[in-house]
């Protein structure tokens, strides 16, 4: 080859490299522009005008345009070669910020009643300086709340609730390295890895990443499985298992020194132990998946499930015994009651206003769609000769939790969450490994699927926002409740989305009169307030509770207005506070119940 030919080839390569750099810079810039458009579009959002469709009903079309722009740049980045890890990482981080910080920006106060309750538990721990398991179940799994207390006081914050608005962003950013580690253990194809990551976050509509033990536990769950599949990977060498669990192009397992191996296994056990005393359900999910991996001989640590069960059993037997002692029969009786579990998780949840039913339909369709794609991806892998059932097995294994109990009607949601990373991984195969991804038609189809998924995310995740949002007026009113009501009083609410218990958690008694409220039975409400005659009782009626009665309770606005009027006019009740979004009533000393 002549010198001039070499020079020309070098020049072509340089030009190509410069073009690639320019394209990648353009796509990175596009993602940042999408973030700017998104931020600007959130400035005029009027949260008070939300319908039962939730937050999307008040978002500007510009917000949707920002997501579309981000999706287009992502699809181009994942389609074009060579792949730039920095670019894909940037795009997924921007996606996480855009998906999970909307409420922190547009809402004046921390949202979601349970976050307030968790802040209240942290307040008890830091105020009393001890853990009293007799208060309730939370105090038998106190790890997350102890951590919250440490973070709050070290940061000099007045309350842990100040951390809550940013918890979804923090948790999802924490999930990202764990998800990437997990996906990289299964393939070297960057298209699958990054599309899977995009699907994972756009499919994470469940909302368990709020300021909660399960939000943190999920991070440890993902990371534990990721470490095991990466660092302790093995394959069955003989028998029928070897036919169905074969290497299919995964990267080589890293070579570890004995010290690194021992240290990493210690880290796995340490992370597992952390979940054991911070959340009831997560360790069971981890044990289940580890057991599946050991049975399929996909990890070399065959004794690990036994050690995990011992750690879990030790905690339950000694440290959580005060809770289990009072609830063991109830918990055991629910094992295997799949019909009850399904009823609590599905049929009982499908009720409410017409728009809320639409939200529920979108949630169901999103779930079915994602798992449908995962099924297609799993079959595609098999047809392409990738005879490795690890990922379908991991996606299906969490469904075993349905045999345990209904988990307050939330088990199906948790099953979805625990299956999501594996389903997203398989769904990515369906989207970018079938056909020719570099063709325009394929790229357009991918943009459409991802955009639809993001739209469904907006409706599914923020579909309850009208009842989950907290207004400044409500915060003021609820603080007033704790000022007015003496210690040991009974506090009563109409719906279970009431945000209370954020202070003096252990010093009051609480009751929810959901059924009586739904049926407009004011005398029933008063009877409940008078159940313990010597105890003063306070009924709090707030905007978010009334929204819940409409959205989930199926009451129309007129019925809710009638209910409030009946409470106001009830002879047995005396109004002691009426400002903005909160009204507080107490039982009259000798008034009749109706």
């Amino acid at each position: 080859m002549s010198v001039s030919t070499l020079a020309a080839a070098e020049a072509r390569a340089r030009t190509l490299s410069e073009r690639t750099d320019a394209t990648q810079a353009l796509l990175g810039g596009g993602a940042l522009v999408a973030a700017v458009i998104w931020a600007l579009s959130l400035r005029p959002v009027d949260v008070a005008g939300m319908s039962d469709l939730g937050l999307v009903s008040v978002l500007s079309p510009l917000t949707g345009a920002a997501f579309l722009l981000l999706t287009v740049t992502f699809v181009l980045a994942v389609t074009l070669r060579p792949h730039a890890t920095w670019l894909l990482l940037l795009q997924v981080v921007v996606l996480i910020v855009m998906l999970f910080t909307i409420t922190a920006i547009v809402e004046a106060e921390p949202r979601f009643s349970v976050s307030w309750r968790h802040a209240g538990i942290i307040e008890v721990l830091t105020r009393t300086g001890q853990i009293d398991p007799a208060i309730d179940a939370y105090f038998s799994w106190p790890g997350f709340f102890a951590l919250g207390g440490l973070l709050t006081q070290a940061a000099g914050l007045p309350s842990a609730i100040d951390l809550a608005p940013w918890a979804p962003l923090a948790f999802n950013l924490m999930y990202l390295p764990a998800v990437l580690l997990l996906f990289r253990s299964g393939t070297q194809n960057p298209r699958v890895i990054w599309t899977g990551a995009f699907l994972f976050f756009a499919g994470n509509w469940i909302g368990q990443d709020y300021f909660s033990p399960q939000g943190l536990g999920y991070f440890l769950y993902l990371l534990t499985i990721g470490i095991l599949l990466t660092m302790f990977r093995s394959w069955p060498r003989s028998g029928w298992l070897a036919s169905w669990f074969r290497p299919t192009g995964e990267p080589d397992a890293p070579v570890l020194t004995p010290f690194q191996r021992a240290a990493l296994m210690s880290i796995v056990l340490f992370l597992f132990a952390t979940t054991v005393y911070s959340h009831q359900l997560t360790p069971f999910s981890i044990v289940g998946l580890v057991l599946v991996l050991v049975m399929a001989r996909r990890i070399s640590a065959i004794g690990l499930p036994v050690v995990m069960v011992v750690v879990l059993g030790t905690w339950l037997s000694y440290m959580a015994v005060s809770y289990l002692g009072g609830h063991l029969n109830e918990l055991i009786s629910r094992i295997g009651s799949v019909d009850t579990t399904v009823a609590a998780n599905l049929t009982d949840r499908f009720r409410g206003s017409p728009l809320h039913l639409a939200v529920l339909a979108v949630r169901s369709l999103t779930t079915i769609g994602l798992f449908g794609l995962a099924g297609v991806g799993a079959v595609h892998r098999l047809l392409r000769g990738r005879r490795d059932l690890t990922w379908p097995l991991l996606a299906l294994a969490p469904f075993g939790l349905l045999l345990l109990q209904s988990y307050g009607g939330e088990m199906l949601l948790r099953v979805y969450l625990f299956s999501l990373p594996f389903a997203a991984f398989l769904a990515a195969y369906a989207l970018v490994d079938i056909g020719r991804p570099e063709r325009l038609r394929h790229a357009v189809a991918l943009v459409v699927v991802l955009t639809v998924l993001i739209g469904a995310f907006g409706i599914s995740r923020y579909g309850n926002e009208r009842m989950d949002v907290t207004t400044a007026s409500e915060v003021q009113g609820m603080e007033e409740l704790y000022r007015i009501a003496p210690r040991d009083a009974l506090l009563v609410a109409l719906a279970d989305n009431v945000f209370w218990k954020f202070t003096a958690y252990e010093q009051y008694h609480y009751a929810i009169v959901n059924s009586a409220a739904r049926t407009g039975d004011v005398s029933g409400i008063i009877d409940r307030m008078r159940q313990t005659p010597d105890r003063p009782a306070y009924l709090v009626v707030s905007r978010s509770q009334l929204a819940a009665l409409e959205i989930q309770g199926g009451l129309d606005p007129a019925e809710v207005t009638d209910l409030v009027a009946a409470i106001r006019g009830a002879p047995g009740l005396e109004q002691v506070y009426d400002r903005g979004d909160v009204q507080i009533f107490r039982t009259s000393p000798q008034g009749p119940s109706s």
Binding site: L125, G149, A154, P254, P258
Partner: protein, 130 residues
Amino acid sequence: MNGRLAVPAFLLLITGATELLVSSDGQGPVRIATSVGFLLLVPGWAVLRMVDPPVDLVTGAGLAIAISVGLDMAVATTLLYLRIWSVGLALAIISALVVLAILLGLPASRAAIGREARRAWAALGSVDEP
């Protein structure tokens, strides 16, 4: 400064800054960023330097956060169970763990730990002494 010492020095700096800000009861975004950054990253980062696992930067960050959270939680929960809770004591214990991990993670310490680990392993008959 030697690159190998830059990270330990940075970790010690954040540790010291957090101790200083919390003990002086300073308020504001600097304290929030420093203390939250310290608690969520530094203990795990110090431990990871000791283990030196073959992982990329992103995975390393995830591991550092997970280990940090686990250590913070263990210290805070233990103090609460022992009824000796105070944020100052919790931070002092975590800072001491960080300093210990940094010392054990220094190259000379790591080499010594590696030698001891290989000897112990060889004594168990698992691998040959190199």
